[in-house]
Symmetry: C2
Subunit: 154 residues, 2 copies
């Protein structure tokens, strides 16, 4: 845990507002060095997935030439939303350090807390209208996958 | 709800395995037309965020020149993981239709169910080591954001 890296994430968030982005920043650290940074470019780039953590993860993976960030830590200026927390799990980061929390984000007008609450509901009770369709046919890719010798697991 | 679109998502998943990707596909539909497709390229592109739904959302937003997909539906060959479900909320899609479910995905070796369970735990109880740091300093970007007249909300 290193305050310098968190301060860098916070400063990225501040600078990003001036650059037309959202108030979020993140850095990824490996062996005591920042290897990637990210800021929120959702509205600037017309990309709802361009949150600071997702951008930093994509940049770090590109830099390392790997889909795994095992051995790396992420410092985020704010507690990750479910999308970003999911991305952190998929990237296999070792540690997550965050500054502000999801209640601070909600107070600033961001939906993180709402999405956390939605994910905990059964899909039929969510505000997002959801339905299952063709479940049996949709298992075919998994059957093929199980028999695919060249598959790369992650 | 349209079975043709779901069958297209399933076929994308099948074809993607042959192209070195994971067994997942998705399509985004607006006004009865497929405007974007996505497949899982995590290992192929060294990008842990390159799930089918995230790729389709990014492509659809680029095509429409918008960070909102209001008025669009997503058909995914498999129930979205928390990362992708978060992305679907942030993109403001109208409907989610999925084929296989998260238990099918778990049986095929994917961590979706594990990540759902982790997200429901308090952060101190998760396998991902998590800590809060400099919370007060980290509120500064939100304070600046509140006073930033050119901010674009989403």
């Amino acid at each position: 845990m290193n305050k310098t890296f968190m301060r860098q994430a916070i400063q990225l968030a501040i600078d990003n507002i001036k650059n037309g982005g959202g108030p979020f920043g993140a850095v990824i650290v490996k062996d005591g060095t920042v290897i990637a940074t990210g800021v929120n470019r959702v509205t600037a780039n017309n990309d709802p997935t361009a949150h600071a953590e997702v951008c930093a993860i994509r940049q770090a993976c590109e830099k390392l030439g790997s889909f795994s960030l095992e051995g790396c830590d992420i410092y985020s200026s704010c507690e990750p939303c479910p999308m970003c927390l999911g991305a952190i799990y998929w990237a296999h980061l070792d540690h997550l350090y965050y500054g502000a929390n999801k209640h601070d984000a909600a107070a600033a007008g961001f939906d993180d807390q709402f999405i956390y609450e939605e994910l905990e509901l059964p899909s039929g009770n969510r505000r997002l209208k959801t339905a299952s369709l063709l479940e049996e046919e949709a298992k075919a890719p998994f059957t093929l996958w199980a028999h695919h010798e060249q598959r790369v697991e992650y």
